[in-house]
């Protein structure tokens, strides 16, 4: 027996490259994990070949056996391919368990070939199987990690987008900003909105800000206080604040809660708010005679 541990696997992978790829792909379809609805046969084949090639590279560099460590340099190519394939597939909606089954499906074709070659050497056979299993299992675990990392990244991205959506500051006119608030306001969001608004005032050198509450259903005392603080902070920065679109309910709540609106300008609708804002910066809205 000249071949040492994992060298048999290497030989098998090199000699029977196409067959292994075919077998891997067909195992996937047998197990129902090949999602032809999500990616084509060609893509599936390319990805599978790339994985097997990277696997060969890893084994060639001799990084198996007791020294096996998927995080080592010898396995960098395989890790990169796995990350690419996993990201690609997770974006298209392949589930983590499908992906793990896909990786684990590599075992069957390799094991059958090992059995053929090492039928006379049961001890070697067991060792080869054991070592190869360790490698493949590590891939499957790695895939799951990539999946989780990818999910986290998407969640993070969506959270940022949500936050931006919830605090839109729009430059309505030169020097006029508007902040259309929609939905439920809570203290955390009110604080966020305020920071965002003040920064934008600084950037755009805005002179008037219209805070539109048309889309806000209810406010509590804290949020009402936040609104007034926001107006005060806007004034301190040297801009003016107009609050528009206060609903009857909110107006009643604010009065009942004893919130002192003080000197904050209020306008019934955003339309009146805009007219007011424009007149403050020296514009006038006039109707054409013909219309």
């Amino acid at each position: 027996m000249t071949e040492t541990a994992t060298e048999t696997v290497l030989t098998i992978l090199q000699n029977d490259f196409e067959e292994i790829v075919d077998a891997w792909i067909s195992t996937q379809s047998d197990e129902g994990v090949q999602r032809t609805d999500l990616f084509s046969h060609k893509e599936g084949r390319e990805q599978t070949s790339a994985l097997v090639r990277a696997l060969v590279t890893g084994i060639e560099k001799g990084a198996t056996g007791d020294r096996f460590d998927l995080a080592s340099d010898a396995w960098s190519e395989l890790r990169n391919v796995l990350v690419d394939v996993t990201q690609e597939r997770s974006e298209r909606g392949v589930t983590p368990s499908d992906m793990a089954s896909f990786v684990l499906a590599l075992k069957a074709p390799v094991f059958y070939r090992l059995k053929d070659r090492l039928a006379k050497y049961p001890a070697n056979l067991v060792e080869e199987i054991w070592l190869f299993t360790r490698v493949v299992d590590a891939f499957a675990v790695y895939c799951t990690e990539v999946f989780i990392a990818e999910r986290d990244r998407i969640i993070e991205q969506q959270r940022d987008q949500m936050q931006e959506l919830s605090t839109p500051v729009v430059e309505l006119w030169d020097k006029v900003l508007t902040l259309p608030l929609i939905g439920t306001m809570d203290s955390a969001r009110a604080q966020e909105v305020m920071e965002n608004l003040l920064e934008t005032i600084l950037q755009r050198q805005a002179e008037v800000v219209i805070v539109d509450l048309t889309g806000v259903q209810t406010v509590d005392t804290q949020v009402a206080q936040h609104m007034l603080r926001m107006a005060a902070a806007v004034r301190l920065m040297g801009a003016e604040c107009i609050i528009s679109g206060i609903s009857p309910t909110i107006a009643q709540t604010m009065v009942q809660l004893g919130v002192d609106v003080g000197e904050v300008t209020t306008r019934s609708t955003i339309r009146n708010g805009l007219a007011d804002a424009l007149s403050r910066i020296g514009y006038e809205i006039t109707k054409k005679k013909d219309h």
Binding site: I201, L202, R229, A232, A233, L236, M237, G238
Partner: protein, 120 residues
């Protein structure tokens, strides 16, 4: 008097640019010097540019408010200009919203406002 509080007279308006590293004693000196200058020059307004201030505490906040009240007694309107967002939020949180001062985005805006007023 330190360079932290140089006062310039432009168009009958006293301009003060408050420096980033102004100390508590500097600002007290400034308060005194400024009130005298308002009377000496018969200034109609005081413009304080605080864009260099990145943080304010209650002390500085109170002095800013006092400066405005003092100037008002001496018949000069105070403008606080260039306040940073973080400073504005802090002052509001502290409940010091400078009721006696006018505010403007920048020195230019304050001067524009002052000219508008004098014409009117």
């Amino acid at each position: 008097m330190s360079s932290a509080s140089a006062i310039y007279l432009v168009e009958g308006v006293l301009l003060v640019a408050i420096q980033e590293d102004i100390s508590d004693t500097d600002i007290l000196d400034l308060q005194e010097a400024l009130s005298e200058r308002v009377v000496d020059e018969a200034a109609r307004a005081v413009v304080m540019d605080i864009s260099a201030l990145e943080i304010v505490d209650t002390f500085v906040g109170r002095i800013l408010a006092q400066l405005a009240s003092v100037s008002k007694l001496l018949d000069a309107q105070t403008y606080v200009v260039g306040m940073r967002p973080a400073v504005a939020m802090t002052l509001v949180e502290l409940g010091m919203d400078l009721p006696e001062s006018k505010t403007a985005l920048s020195l230019t805006h304050a001067l524009k406002d002052l000219r508008g007023e004098s014409r009117g």
